[in-house]
Amino acid sequence: MNSAVIVFPGSNCDRDLAVALEQVTGRKPAMVWHKDSELPAGIDFIGVPGGFSYGDYLRSGAMAARSPVMRAVADAAGRGVPVIGICNGFQVLTEAGLLPGALMRNARLSFVCRPVPLRVENSQSLFTAQYDAGEEISFPVAHHDGNYQADEATLDRLEGEARVAFRYLDSVNGSARNIAGILNDAGNVLGLMPHPERAIEPAHGGTDGRRLFEGLLETVSA
């Protein structure tokens, strides 16, 4: 699996994601700068990492979503290439219109930084095939703007189409219906606030994130 990690000014989980991908796939991902308007040829997975792209100016992810590389990411997503947006990457994907809804300031205004329990709501997606439906796992979160909001009709559609991939077991940030991660309608774009790339090795305190990348590798290589 040839992967690409997008790097914006202010990204800070790009290296974590690259290390996780290299461990799981055995290949170093291409690090693609936000000003590039094309992705390297033959990319079969794209990661949009966490961080504080453009200093969170205007709105988290707003500037990054309009950068040249995101047009290439949107084109690739349209062709069915799997794309994951983690934390700030999730904010970027919603701002870019690749995922519905918006991520607002946490309901209690505080930055939340701790491992949180999650439930895998959809175990049939490209990203979650190695989890059991309803399985409870733990990923770390580290965010200030993770409060997922969308109108009721959108939330109902996400639930009805099994596009809620992960849900918090407890209220972490005020997200509507405790949503932690969602899929696009084609199922090849996942956005989530928790960090699977920080739950890869036992030294991270848990390895629940590893299966997300392993499952993806299996599906993409099949």
Binding site: P100, M104, A107
Partner: protein, 81 residues
């Protein structure tokens, strides 16, 4: 020509920052505050021929996130020479 864009949260969208400001005002002893909503003011210095439609396009494409925000444009006509 200058224009001001006011970006505000849509009705019904919870505003944690507005709530915190409200509590802080109460903490300072201002008791008559019913509600606080925080927004943004963006000032644009534009070429005189910029059309309303173009400013609206800027708002939709970047300045506001219309999933959660409304915007209002206020044109400030150039001073007469």
């Amino acid at each position: 020509m200058k224009a001001r864009v006011f970006v505000t949260l849509k009705n019904g969208v919870l505003d944690p920052q507005g709530k915190a400001i409200h509590h802080a005002l109460e903490g300072l002893g201002f008791s008559g505050v019913n509600d606080v909503r925080a927004g943004k003011l963006i000032e644009l210095d534009l070429a005189d021929e910029t059309s309303d439609a173009e400013i609206e396009d800027m708002c939709r494409k970047l300045l506001a996130n219309t999933v959660i925000e409304n915007f209002r444009i206020e044109r400030m006509e150039p001073a007469q020479a």
